[in-house]
Amino acid sequence: MNGPTLFGLCAAALIGFGLYGLIVNPQPLRKIIGFNIIGSGVFLLFGTIARRGAAVGMGGDPVPQALLITGIVVAFSATALAVALLLRLFDEGGVVTLASEASPTEAKADPPDA
Amino acid sequence: MTMPDFLLSAAAFVLVMVALGLIRILRGPEDVDRMMAAQLFGSGGIAALLLFGVATEAKAVIDVALTLALLAAFASVAFVQGISRPDSDDSQETRDE
C-alpha cells in the first residue's frame, strides 16, 4: 500500500457515496452535490493515475493533470447551469421537486455486460 | 527525528485538531456554528498545508496556500451572505453594535 493506491481506493469509495446520494436524495440541490462528489471521485482516480505516472523528474504524468484541470472547470460549469435551472424552477413554482412520477436516477447504471 | 518528519508530525497534529473541530462545528445545532467550517480551514487547514509543503519541499504549496487563504475568506463571506435573511433590513446589520 502506498499513497497513490490509498487515494485511488478513496476515490472508488467517493464515487460509490456520490452515486448513492444522487439516487437517494430527492432534492435537486442534493443531487447536484451528489454529482459533484462523483465527479471529484473520478478526478481523484485520475489524479492517482497521474501520480503513478511520475517519471523523468516530473512529479506526475502531465497529461492527466491538464485534463483534470479541464474536467474541474467543466464540472463547475455544469453545476452553475444546474443551479440556474433549479433557481428558475423555484421562481416559477416555489416548490422544487423533480416531478413525482419519476425519480430521475432509478436503476441508473446497469452494467450491460456485468 | 529529522526536520521533515517533525513538520509532517506537526501537520498531522494540526489536521487532527481540524478534524475534531469539524466534528464539533458540523454538529451545529445552529448554522452559525457550521459556517465556521470554512473559517477553521482558513487557519488550521492552511497551517497543515504549509507544514506538508515545507516538509516535502514542494514550493508550489505556498501558492496553493495563498489561493486557499484568499478563497476560504471568500467562501466564509458567501456563507454569511447566504445565511442572513434576505427580507431583514440588511443595512442595519453591521452598524448596530
Binding site: 472508488a12 459533484n36 | 509532517l8 470554512a38
Partner: protein, 314 residues
C-alpha cells in the same frame, strides 16, 4: 515513509467521513457547507499527491466559486425545504446501496490491479517540452499538445453561460444579473471588500503569470480574479454589467476567437493548425492565455451570478 502513509490514511478517512456526512445530513444548508469543506480537504489531497496545478484549481474552484454558487442557491431555496421531506422507500435505498457498493468494489479491484510500472506520457511530454518554450509541462499539454481541448473548454464555459442566461425572464433580457448583497457601503464587509481585492488581484495575476513555467495558469488565476470581483459586487460596491453591453460580449468571445486565429496562423507559419513556429511558441502561448484571461474571469463570475434579474438603471 510510514509516517507519511499514516498521514495519508488519516486524510483519506477524513475525506470519506466528510463525503458521507455531506450525503447523509438532512439539512440542505449543512450539506452545502459539508461539500465546501470537502472541497478544501480535497486540496490537501492534491498536495499530498504532488499535483500542485490541480491543487490550485481545486482550491480556487472547489472551495471558492462552487461554494459561493451552492450556498447562494441553498439560501434561496431554504423556505421550500420543509415541503420536500419524503425519502425514497427501503427498496430504492437498498438497490442504490447495492449498486454503489458494486461500483466501488469493481473500481477498487481495478485500482489494486493497475499495471506496474504505470503507463505514462511524461517522457513523451518532456521530450517535446523544449519546442513549446514553456517550462510547466501541464501548460504545454493545455496549450500545445492538446490545445484543442482547452479551446473547447473555454467554449464549454461560454455555452453554459448562454444556457444560464437563457433562464432569464423575457422582461429582463439584456438586463443585469444580481447577487444578494449587503448594500452597506460603510459596513465591515465593504471594508473587507475594499482591502482584499487589490491584493487578491495581484495574487491572481501572479498565479496566472507563473503558469508558463511553474504550477499555476489562466484557469486558476481567472478563478481568483472572478472571486475578487464577486466579492466587490457582493459587498454592494459595484454592479454587474447588463448582458447586452457590447464590450462585455466582445471580451467574452475575444479569448476563443484569438485562440482560433492564432491556431490557424499556425497553418501558414508552422504547417498545421494549432502548431507554433519554432522560437515563437512561448510568446504565442502567452498571447492566447492573456486573451483567454478576461473571457474566463467574466464567464466564471457571471456563471455564479446567474440569469439577469433586473433592467439597468436608465
Amino acid at each position: 515513509m510510514t509516517l507519511a502513509l499514516a498521514v495519508d490514511i488519516g486524510l483519506a478517512l477524513l475525506i470519506l467521513a466528510m463525503a458521507a456526512w455531506t450525503i447523509a445530513v438532512r439539512d440542505t444548508f449543512a450539506s452545502v457547507i459539508g461539500f465546501v469543506t470537502y472541497g478544501l480537504l480535497l486540496t490537501l489531497v492534491w498536495v499530498r499527491l504532488a499535483l500542485p496545478d490541480v491543487a490550485l484549481t481545486e482550491a480556487a474552484m472547489g472551495g471558492g466559486l462552487t461554494g459561493a454558487l451552492l450556498i447562494g442557491a441553498a439560501a434561496r431555496l431554504r423556505r421550500t425545504e420543509a415541503t420536500v421531506r419524503e425519502r425514497p422507500g427501503v427498496l430504492t435505498r437498498t438497490l442504490a446501496a447495492v449498486l454503489s457498493a458494486t461500483v466501488t468494489a469493481a473500481l477498487s479491484f481495478c485500482v489494486l490491479n493497475l499495471p506496474d510500472p504505470a503507463p505514462t506520457l511524461a517522457p513523451a511530454a518532456a521530450a517535446k517540452l523544449g519546442s513549446t518554450g514553456v517550462g510547466n509541462p501541464v501548460t504545454a499539454v493545455l496549450l500545445a499538445y492538446r490545445s484543442m481541448d482547452t479551446l473547447l473548454e473555454a467554449i464549454v464555459v461560454l455555452i453554459a453561460l448562454f444556457g444560464v442566461w437563457s433562464l432569464a425572464h423575457d422582461r429582463f433580457w439584456g438586463g443585469c444579473p444580481q447577487l444578494r448583497t449587503h448594500a452597506d457601503s460603510e459596513g465591515i464587509l465593504a471594508y473587507f471588500a475594499r482591502i482584499l481585492p487589490p491584493i487578491g488581484i495581484i495574487v491572481g495575476v501572479y498565479i496566472f503569470w507563473i503558469g508558463a513555467d511553474f504550477p499555476g495558469g489562466k484557469f486558476q488565476g481567472a478563478t481568483i480574479l472572478a472571486a475578487m470581483w464577486l466579492l466587490v459586487i457582493g459587498a454592494g460596491l459595484a454592479y454587474l454589467p447588463p448582458i447586452s453591453r457590447i464590450w462585455l460580449r466582445i471580451l467574452l468571445v475575444a479569448g476563443p476567437l484569438v485562440f482560433i486565429v492564432i491556431g490557424f496562423a499556425g497553418l501558414v507559419t508552422a504547417g498545421a493548425v494549432f502548431a507554433y513556429p519554432d522560437g515563437f511558441a512561448k510568446p504565442l502561448i502567452l498571447a492566447i492565455e492573456i486573451a483567454l484571461m478576461p473571457t474566463l474571469v467574466l464567464a466564471l463570475a457571471l456563471l455564479v451570478a446567474g440569469a439577469p434579474q433586473r433592467m439597468p438603471p436608465q
